[in-house]
Amino acid sequence: MLIKPLVEALLFVAEEPLSLDRLAEITEFPVQDVRLALRELQQEYAADDSGLQVMEIAKGYQLATKPELAPVVEKLFKGENRYTLSQAALETLAIIAYRQPVTRVDIENIRGVKVDGVLETLLKRRFIRTAGRKDAPGRPILYSTTREFLKYFGLKDVSELPRSDMDLPRERSLFEEPGQTITT
């Protein structure tokens, strides 16, 4: 078997970048030959009439599409709306993610600013949802993050996440005003 087609096929199917050593190991070709094949592939794909490129990334090589084609290629994935969240929204989300369920007042105590508007946006964007009411004076609404939130950050499988480990015991909150108790 020729080395270049092998390297091409391997870069194509690999789930992650492949290092020179790994490529040499799998193909059973000397590292120099692999390096040469990679260089050839890199040059070939660099041509304008190719839509792909050989990327060097994290000490490995990987096939990927050319950046200038992104506007069209992305259309394949249309519907996956990806816009950037505002700074305020991010910080609010961070607090909700690790403190959920959490009240608006709790969030405002941490961020030091009003968050009504941000919460509304996040609710509309379905990054957060209401999660009942807190057993405290005024019975304030509690907020939690959603699946949509996980998707946005590419956190694919909720169940895989070490949720419980990350949740700090709520009574040890550092962000509450002294004397304010949290009973959820």
């Binding site: 096929a9 194509f12 199917v13 789930e15 992650e16 970048p17 490129q53 990327m55 990334i57 994290a58 000490k59 990987q62 990927a64 599409t65 050319k66 950046p67 084609l69 992104a70 290629v73 992305e74 994935f77 996956e80 990806r82 950037t84 700074q87 991010l90 910080e91 989300l93 961070a94 607090i95 993610a97 690790y98 941490i110 961020r111 030091g112 946005y152 950050f153 590419g154 956190l155 694919k156 499988d157 895989e160 996440l161 070490p162 480990d165 990350m166 700090l168 040890r172 550092l174 962000f175």
Partner: protein, 244 residues
């Protein structure tokens, strides 16, 4: 300890019949019901002697064959109510048996063809996007992060928080913003071509808010493809790298 071999040699009664006919080297159209019945019963008996589980379908077929055989011997006397009527195999004549066998043979050959297609296709690999691969390279906004294993990242974060639990607490005024942290991370990555360790981004004694903000800054930087996160193995440490 005795056990039943669950897997019979033949998928079903037709497969067995088919095998017997092939072995006898007779044309399906010219089978002798008497002969094939005898062989069929012989085989079932052998199966039972070997303590193989004989599925009911095989027994139904045996009964059907016996019925066909009797019909041949005593034509016209077997048009009575048939106790096998509800069974899967309702075959009333040799002609029908032949048709059933031909039909079965056809699908058997199609199945063989499918097997060939399957084998050919096994030698061909398409990309599966289950992993976190670089799909589209777009400096502006990216589809997915490269190389990062998010469960791994989350795990690392969980460790951080666990460590934090063990450390003496220190109330920290919330002076970090995601924006600042993002800048800070990018600065510390400058010139570090081989990346920096995930944990080095979280200074000892950092407050919870700083840990959380830092982590979120990382997530956002990954999402914006300013950085990538690498893990060489499931239990290895995470490397943060600036993207070029």
């Amino acid at each position: 300890m005795d056990y039943l071999v669950k897997q019979p040699a033949f998928e079903g009664p037709f497969a067995l019949l088919f095998h017997l006919i092939e072995k006898a080297e007779v044309d399906i159209y010219e089978i002798s019901v008497a002969e094939i019945t005898a062989q069929y019963l012989e085989y079932l008996q052998a199966m039972q002697e070997l303590n193989l589980e004989v599925a009911s379908e095989f027994l139904v077929m045996a009964a059907t064959l016996l019925k066909l055989k009797s019909k041949k011997l005593l034509p016209g006397t077997f048009e009575t109510v048939d106790e096998l009527e509800d069974a899967m195999i309702t075959i009333d004549s040799q002609e029908e048996l032949v048709q059933r066998l031909l039909e079965y043979r056809h699908f058997r050959s199609v199945a063989e063809e499918l097997r060939r297609f399957e084998q050919a296709q096994k030698r061909v690999f398409a990309r599966s996007l289950s992993g976190e691969k670089v799909v589209i390279v777009n400096p502006e906004k990216e589809m997915s992060a490269a190389g990062i294993t998010l469960p791994g990242l989350m795990q690392a974060f969980a460790h951080l928080l666990a460590d934090f639990e063990r450390q003496p607490r220190e109330v920290n005024v919330d002076e970090f913003t995601v924006k600042d942290k993002m800048k800070l991370i990018m600065t510390s990555l400058r010139g570090q071509s081989s990346g920096i360790d995930f944990f080095s981004l979280f200074p000892k004694g950092a407050g919870l808010s700083e840990i959380i903000i830092t982590f979120f800054s990382l997530l956002e930087l990954i999402r914006l493809r300013k950085i990538s996160v690498w893990q060489t193995g499931p239990m290895e440490s995470l490397l943060i790298m600036r993207k070029v």
